[in-house]
Symmetry: C3
Subunit: 277 residues, 3 copies
């Protein structure tokens, strides 16, 4: 933490209509005027902890070590949920203890975790509705000045924190690789929970050659290299920039095309096996 | 104004679809490359001066003294309205003279006010449609370099500027505290004009014990400490982070639930009195 | 490029819902922690190259020389389209070769153009779906550290790059100046392709005195100085801040009022000539 210009990233479901995000930045800059603030996104669907968990885990490694990541998707604000602070791979995270860091800590490699309870770092009086302003922002700002996680409160264990049961893909008794749509992005791409590693393992272990990807009543027979492998307006399946299987329409909106929704089942099936039954 | 990295905040109704906000930042950075720019929000409803007035008054004190706050919600751009620049509590404000600073100057404590007329600080030629670029941005940038308000134009009086008749809550002849919904935020929380001070005064002066908050045909009987004081999906009334009475639904959208709209009447009534009638 | 704090501007159609823009910033700051990043807009309609072309050409000159402008509106990502890098008037541009720089290079004055092929400046492995992260961001960051365009790849000619056939206004055989709506902004203003120069030339060459502007079945008879030249709610035609003819409604939405759409024809006619037919 000897960075001259440490970075604080912000990830919230506050939207950009109100002054809430701006106020958090004011609090941070009042404590450390040299910090650099980067918005990850403030348009997480309200209270969508799973989407926020995906967004932070897909982002943090692209920032310099020493960065401080603040996640405020916090339906339980003002209630009994804890605020936690952890360090991993040289990055710092401050978040409500509601599972939003589930994917970040999935590999169970964490350097240090604390419950954030030390009120000397909070804005007073602490409101019961805007901990982004009164707790998260000032704690991040103090960390950016060289504060230590252990100053923020009592050390806790990884097993003490809440984790989401974010469905990992699995192989069904019908020998299909089963996952689901975990997010539909701005372009209408369907991001699935099926990662490239699980996919390769499935092909190998099941001895699968030709596959078909199915979503509802739709079947797509190839995994392509890039969107323009198919005609404009046609479905295309690729492993996207997060190494997750994505179902897209070249230059159009797969969410609308497939009438897809988050949580919907996606299956990878073997064509040959399917035929032999 | 000896700040090394002064802060300029921007509050507009420009939205984020066009390049307008980016262009303002280009103008500012061309004049002072070391200034830090913070977006308060650019999604004020078009021409909604009252919402902008609320947003800036709820924000500015969270920024360091010396900050320069630029407000461009300006339906009268290019017309006869003045541009004003004022200093208060160590903060600078540049805004059209249309009432957008009404809540900031509500306590009538202002150090200095000028009409911004000195064209040497403007971008030439000055358009009639984009003073954000041609007037507000360059004036803010010059102030951030140590310029003085009085350089920008003639000194004027607080009584010379336009103020909105933003309804303060009042006690009706029926002994009810009457306010209204002044904003519905991203989460669907209904922000009312009833502040905690007015509420406490009402309770004391009217000798009220048990109260009921009414919005249209809905009545809520308690003021809670935090959202999770009630079940998910239930109505909850709290004093929010701006010390204003807010009507919410725990983890859902009160705007939709109550079919509420900005301007709608909110009343605080005494239960006992009501019954005795 | 000896700037201490060079500026990188970002213009994309990524929207603000996902973490994509934030990740690009992480990549840039990991390579050059002192660069300043400014968002032009990320809400270009998906794949709308013409709108992006207008936005960048209307913006770049308001930034300091030495600024690096990154444009990622890139429906062909991962396909055969080139990425180009060019220098003009002291500004740097990095964009897919799909016409998005058409208006920037319209005057055919460009200092240097290269195809970006030098993979040593890319993030590895390069995905086929997110060149914003893997190509555009790191190339911009290296340029901001004093890199030269020619380091990025082979020099190409202006005639080698793709340009859009963005309709210039023309005088029809019926002696009308014909253009179209090229963008409808956040306020509902209709931005047309008719620039003030073409308009003045038309008036002079055609000897026109009184004109009428027509859009569909609507006719407007004057060009005004500012919005408030007409009553609230009335149509008004002005030359806007980009020196383009704009059709607006004072304090309301012309897009809705006229049921206008991008691409719709706008004509300037001579009143006298029209009558004589």
């Amino acid at each position: 933490m000897k960075e001259v210009n440490p970075i604080i990233t912000l990830l919230t479901d506050f939207g950009l209509k109100d002054e809430y995000v701006g106020v958090m930045k004011g609090v941070i800059l009042s404590i450390n005027s040299s910090v650099r603030i980067v918005d990850l996104t403030h348009n997480i669907t309200r209270h969508d902890i799973a989407h926020a968990a995906l967004a932070i885990s897909a982002s943090f490694r692209y920032f310099p070590k020493g960065s401080i990541h603040v996640i405020v998707v916090d339906p339980g604000v003002g209630g009994r949920r804890k605020v936690i602070c952890l360090k991993k791979e040289g990055h710092f995270f401050i978040a409500p203890d509601n599972g939003v860091l589930s994917l970040v800590v999935q590999d169970e490699k964490v350097d240090e975790i604390c419950a954030v309870t030390n009120e000397q770092y909070f804005l007073k009086p602490v409101s019961n509705t805007f901990h982004g302003r009164d707790v998260f922002a000032p704690v991040a700002a103090y960390l950016s000045k060289g504060g230590e996680i252990r100053h923020m409160g009592k050390k806790i264990l990884l097993s003490d924190i809440v984790t989401l049961d974010i469905a990992a893909p699995f192989v069904s008794s019908a020998h299909e690789l089963v996952g689901n749509v975990i997010s539909i992005d701005h372009f209408g791409n369907l991001i699935t929970s099926i990662d490239q590693e699980a996919f390769e393992r499935f092909r190998q272990e099941e001895g699968v050659k030709d596959i078909v990807i199915s979503l509802g009543r739709f079947n797509i027979k190839t995994i392509s290299r890039s969107y323009d492998s198919v005609k404009i307006g046609s479905p295309v399946v690729i492993f996207g920039s997060r190494n997750l299987l994505e179902i897209s329409i070249n230059q159009a909106d797969a969410g609308t095309y497939f009438k897809a929704r988050v949580g919907q089942t996606v299956k990878v099936k073997s064509v040959t096996k399917h035929k032999s039954r």
